[in-house]
Symmetry: C2
């Protein structure tokens, strides 16, 4: 059932890694080369990748997401005893450029558009990474904008990142429905005023952080029923209804 | 053997949680109430506590370290099925106020002073937490300064935190020997120009972050041999040697 908090939103903006694309797909493709616990390698790769985004932004020492993805993989490979395997490293990084999209992504984007919303990605990913991922998933024609934090040189959840989506889409924060599977990203966007749906894919407990999502779903196919049909001509570009 | 990079340092500044105090001591004291894997509860408590410091600083939504310690514990208890146990929660939090100091801490502080250095804590901890921890470990008389990030309202590794130590000790960054068992804190301080010794207590791989520690040790009792004896009257307050 459509929920009031998303009524009047004009765009659905999606986080990419973890939300549209399965970040554990790279390790999964090469799991036979990664010993007893490939899942632990993938988890540490992801954890370090995120930590490096936060820490470098706090330190004032930005580097792009591809650099951090490589750095994080190096730590994870070292931790689990694969430090010297340059070929494995290269194959994992190659796979990271073409991660699997979650199975419901294409249909979700189509339905969101049919509900009268613009579609966008707002991601930590470097522009070239996002181009590769979008092309591999064949969803380019379904996206109106693909936005990278490289435009501001700061990582999520800095407010400048969410402000970038507002300015590039020319929408007020409350006219954007933002979707992320990353709890901290969901809170960051909600704290900035966006209407957030948290995609809790792995049944995680709610993080104790500022910013309140308006809804929680388990996968993106639960999104379209939450959206009213907004194809009418009666709204201004700001997402505000016209004066009555 | 004394190392050149620490020659001329006038103070040893210590991180508190993880470096002087064993953050896993609270769960250890109550491990029998925490099911099959108390270590996992403690690890998640610590992980969330740190993440909340980084994320709240990035979001511009500061809250003090005691609030975040409680928030992080709530997530960890929920994740492992102890959400409703208010008494357990209270006992764990009480134990966190009086964490065990690592066994070599007192002797290290004494020796550092005997080497002519001032001693200080620079911690994320709220002032009242630090007072309790220092009192429980009985190390107050061995510390010249106990500095909390609450003075700047931003968490490590923001540069303002390391600058606070410099200004309060009236020393240039290169006149401070900074010790942390938290790799990211070690990198943050080194990136700010402090001379950093990373206390790699758990044999972790080196993080791929800016800032280079000048030495790595496994526990604090390896620190004193790295320091030259600096009790002579020949140095100015800045830590620079006098003009020859």
């Amino acid at each position: 059932m459509a929920i009031d908090a998303l009524r009047g939103t004009r765009a659905c903006v999606f986080d990419a890694y973890g939300t549209l694309f399965d970040v554990h797909g790279a390790v999964r493709r090469h799991r036979s080369a990664l010993g007893d616990d490939p899942g632990a390698v993938s988890a540490l790769w992801r954890q370090k990748q995120l930590e490096y985004t936060w820490l470098r932004t706090l330190m004032g020492a930005h580097a792009d997401f591809w650099t951090l993805t490589c750095d994080a993989l190096d730590v994870a490979l070292e931790r689990y005893g694969f430090a010297g395997d340059g070929e494995l490293r290269a194959r994992l990084l190659e796979a990271y450029r073409e991660l699997d999209a979650y199975p419901e992504v294409t249909a979700t984007l189509e339905t969101v558009r049919a509900r009268g919303r613009a579609t966008a990605i707002l991601s930590n990913g470097a522009p070239a990474m996002l181009r590769d991922a979008v092309a591999a998933a064949d969803i380019g024609p379904l996206l109106d904008h693909v936005l990278s934090i490289e435009e501001v040189g700061l990582y999520k959840p800095r407010p400048e990142v969410y402000a970038l989506a507002c300015s590039r889409l020319d929408l007020l924060p409350e006219a954007i429905c933002f979707l992320s599977a990353n709890s901290w990203d969901a809170h960051g966007a909600a704290h900035h005023g966006l209407r957030v749906v948290w995609v809790n894919r792995f049944d995680q407990p709610v993080d104790r952080l500022p910013g309140e999502p308006v809804a929680t779903i388990r996968s993106l196919d639960e999104l379209p029923p939450l959206l009213d049909d907004d194809r009418g001509p009666s709204r201004g570009a700001s997402g505000r209804p016209p004066p009555s």
